[in-house]
Point group: D2
Chain length 361, copies 4
């Protein structure tokens, strides 16, 4: 057996751990393993295919980034290449070439690690006959079919750590601090980090927020002698009657560039209405990088090993998924439905309300 | 409504977060909340009952320990007190006194946070009419009915961090390092931390180990130029045909005192058989203390809030439990069956095997 | 003896540790200790004076923030108060009132923990007869007379951790990431964190930078296949022939609000000149908050204890200072000269150059 | 120019950072750089010499261990080799062979990173004509001539973190916890970590301790309702009228193996005298491993760069040293005098006493 690994999309803590477990799991079965560098570029001529052995994956479990390189441009059904002068050239549908290259290498299966976009590509390649297995990768944790994706626990930890740090400063300056975290369609990071970090207000895409309610909470604290407040806002949070302030492709990287994004808007609105000093901070890429938490290390290793077991069982067209307490596999179709958003009746939402957090409604 | 909180048994990261959410959840409903200090001592005269308000629980989410104080001696059905001279006096069954004191305080419900022992006591008190709700607390993660207990993720992180630190030292000295972690009946900490930390051998109570297999793994690595190995062993691991080396009550605190415990035995046996330099390290109490991880903070807050919702629903005789993705409640009887051990066919066990870890069998 | 403690200015990791050592050091000598809450507000009627005992300072060494509360408005020589409606009223010189209140409380000495501004106030109060000792507090590490100030090591660690996290993301996206850190007049944080985090370019106030040199470094890396770069820029960095982009009072809190600040300017300029995707991130308040590193804990405790020994020796009008390996005291005049900037011939600058870092010149 | 790098002795956090800066500093000057693997084994036939380029040292600043491998057996003046069957063979003085091999490789200079023993070897090789520069490496921080060695700040942080974790557990169990940290002749780690972690008793080699004083402190706390205590003891601490309990060669690796070492002795003695439950924990190798703190990263990089500047200046027979605020170089003779111990009149000792810590005297 010869199998190939590829990664697509942005960085996520745990990528290397997935790769390590997949490589060791394959080698242990006597298979050969290859890495397709930089998305599908390794098969389509912009990068290469490299053999992976035990030495390739030694000591990488806790390292951020990926030994295979990632890329945001990698759809073989609409291939784009960047010329040395920086111009981007549209190369059209190269999926047939990809399948031909896959065969030419003699590969028996592909394990691809990627987000929503990458998994949709995998689904289309599977429909064209490619024996492929997906490993879900999204910091936002909004892939359907799995209770958690790797990298999410690390992102929540990073965001909580930032909220912790801002707490004492907000308090010492009597300020309202508005912290923007990732989450375009789902508020998982904002909700989990906000509760864990003791935020006073948490605004998520699932609950359009009333800025008056936010201000009322802040002034209620003021009246009780708590002259500072922490507001955590997901990048995709929406004001009542408003719409997302995301700026399309420009924010693909994680929102850091959203000067004038939702955090700044909330800070400005709160400042005008309450007369309080406010400050906005967008965590952006900080949430995507770094060494995975222990939880994410283990989940990533379990995902990588499970993907190899799917190959061994010739179970293709599926995505590995955490359905606690076990890691299993679900068909692409199940994973690629609507994004998994925070249920409004979940106990985590209730925990926020019970502990006095304002959710903007 | 007047409710009371108590904690029993040893330390666990997240105790204060449970207390905080329970207090805020109760105050938010207009109830009064009281803390029974040091187990049931606050009701039985060795300590006191204190009123808890929002100020009592401000800023404690991330703090280790507990603002209520814990104790290892607290069974009202067989009460023991320590005299100033250090002697321990058996005071017999004081459960009726406890119920009387509970009524005298005008309490409507008790939320008790504790491990296996404390939950059994709660079950007996419930049978005698006490309106009680349990919150499971065990570092070992072996309580039935819940997929995870708070403090476990922190313990696994601490153990993984220790394994990380030992790795480079083991390598630089060509040594076999044997690390003993908690887990008397279940190998969750050893398995999760061992995989995450890249251990070469993991020995858990669920799989009696053959020391020859352990040595074969180490010598196989040696033959491939890897002159060091890391062995992670749960305190309750059992050699094939042997029995646990736990020393009963003496190790109640977490095993640190097990000089000559299982880690040392494994180290000695490996040293004799392989001629390698070996070292044993028992992490002991380090695993119980410290600031909870973000995961444990959130789980603890969810548990505390869920317990209050049980009170509001007059749902007594239950333990809150994580059944992902939600926190719910299960009857004491379900929680107090056999300890929840690692299923031998779980994907985590398969992950260990797939990545080349020797499990001693 | 009765002594008083006050803190001025913004947050700094280690404030509580200074307070703890000062309180314990005073109590151990049989003195009474009082905390003046929120700058000098406790003496001038906007807040109060509280007695501090051993319980007040238990377990606070590792906590961020300060148990005394801090404030940015606290100059008794030009007192300003904020009315409930948010307007700020100038109350004029209230320094005589302050001295009178100090005497009325029967205080024998004041230990004041603060930055440049607070120390200048202390110097003026000392000139008017107040027996005062200063403890230097500035994240920027630019106070003369001391090799290090507490909080600096924590800020450098926080910034380094952020650079670490951005590394893998920058690499996976082929981007130039520009990270702005604190440092208005001195580049200590940028230099130390930049070197430790493996930055490619570090821009500090001490070395006016040539944007062409910055771009040349980035394109040189590109030519060697390194398609990403990390630029660390101090908030006070100055382009050749340009001037600081700091926005005066508006950035007093730490620079986070500098949308359009130096990081964004550098990112825009690099993007235009190189055609690379660039992103700016301003760490701002993240650098001021959080739990102190072990180094800062110890330095803070040493500072607090040293201040009390100065009181015991009736050595007033001085600031405690680290002159390794010892903590000693220097006259205010020595501390309040020009800010301590990075010497251009220091070995740290040479380390940056030796390891290939571009300093913009 | 062709230069060589070697490392000797055990692990220390920061080794890779020293190597990185030395390699980049040399490459930047147009030199060739080689690593001698596993001590001098690379020159004496038990291992090899490898060329080091920029790729060799990419991304290693924060990694524990060393890319060159270390070894505890590496004295060319008394060479010992381990046979495959485990027996150790004495090969006598091979220093002439070493010099010959050095010349045969065409090396112009050697940078050797090592502790006391390795530096003495370097001094002897220098006397025989080898152009060598030392970089001091000792966790214990007891090398003369430098105010700090790399790895020390990390070890203190690890020990402080452990004390933090033990605090809440000690409190919840009313126990006396005795924590043994590294420090054979000097108490730097015990003193710094003990103060930072809020220990009640700190025992260091510089101050022979009176066990009665230790017990008096513990009972004094008991009398004030503090029913637990934390004792931090350096491995080389000595009871009044007693002698070190170190077990010679057996404890070379860091003391973890000292079952029955000083911590256990103190715990036993305290338990007998006070009737309190006591527990001993020896941190051992945990203090040597792991990722360096930011402080240690920077110091290591500065050391590595400084060593290369010494080569460029043909300044041999010296050790790089931190004499704050700069890194400089001192003759071997200055570095190899008596170990640098804690001065009894240092302000750190006074800080301990001022904050109520018992030092056993």
């Amino acid at each position: 057996m010869r199998i190939a690994l590829s990664t697509g999309g942005g960085d996520a803590p745990g990528l290397n751990a997935v790769i390590r477990a997949a490589v060791l799991g394959a080698l242990g079965r006597g298979w050969a393993v290859y890495g397709i560098r930089r998305g599908y570029g390794g098969l389509l001529g912009t990068d290469k295919v490299v053999a992976l052995d035990a030495d390739s994956v030694r000591g990488i479990t806790h390292l951020g980034g990926t030994i295979l390189g990632t890329t945001n441009r990698g759809d073989p059904f609409g291939w784009r290449e960047t010329r040395p002068d920086g111009t981007i050239v549209d190369m059209g549908d190269r999926s047939d070439e990809l399948l031909a290259a896959f065969s030419a290498h003699g590969f028996d299966a592909l394990i691809t690690i990627g987000g929503d976009g990458s998994l949709r590509i995998a689904q289309k390649l599977f429909a064209k006959g490619l024996p492929v297995i997906g490993v879900p990768k999204t910091i936002d944790n909004d892939v359907a079919g799995t209770v958690m994706t790797f990298g999410f626990d690390t992102a929540v930890s990073t965001a909580t750590d930032a909220i912790d740090k801002l707490h004492s400063t907000a308090e010492s300056h009597d300020r309202v601090m508005v912290v923007e975290v990732m989450g375009r369609y789902a508020g998982w990071i904002a909700l989990n980090a906000g509760i864990s970090g003791g935020a006073d207000v948490i605004l998520i895409p699932e609950i359009p927020f009333d800025i008056e309610k936010v201000c009322a909470k802040i002034m209620d604290r003021e009246a009780r002698g708590r002259r500072f407040s922490i507001v955590v806002v997901a990048e995709g949070a929406i004001p009542l009657g408003g719409h997302r302030v995301l700026k399309g492709a420009a924010s693909a990287g994680g929102g850091m560039e959203q000067l004038g994004g939702i955090a700044q808007q909330v800070a400005d609105a709160v400042g005008q209405r309450t007369g309080k000093e406010t400050r906005a901070l967008t965590l952006g890429h900080l949430q995507r990088g770094g060494s995975p938490t222990t939880f994410d290390r283990l989940l990533s290793l379990r995902f990588g090993a499970a993907a190899v077991r799917c190959v061994a069982a010739k179970q293709f067209g599926v995505m590995v998924a955490l359905q606690p307490p076990i890691v299993t596999a679900v068909p692409f179709s199940e994973a690629l439905g609507a994004p998994r958003i925070v249920p409004l009746d979940s106990d985590t939402i209730m925990t926020a309300r019970d502990t006095g957090v304002c959710l903007g409604d």
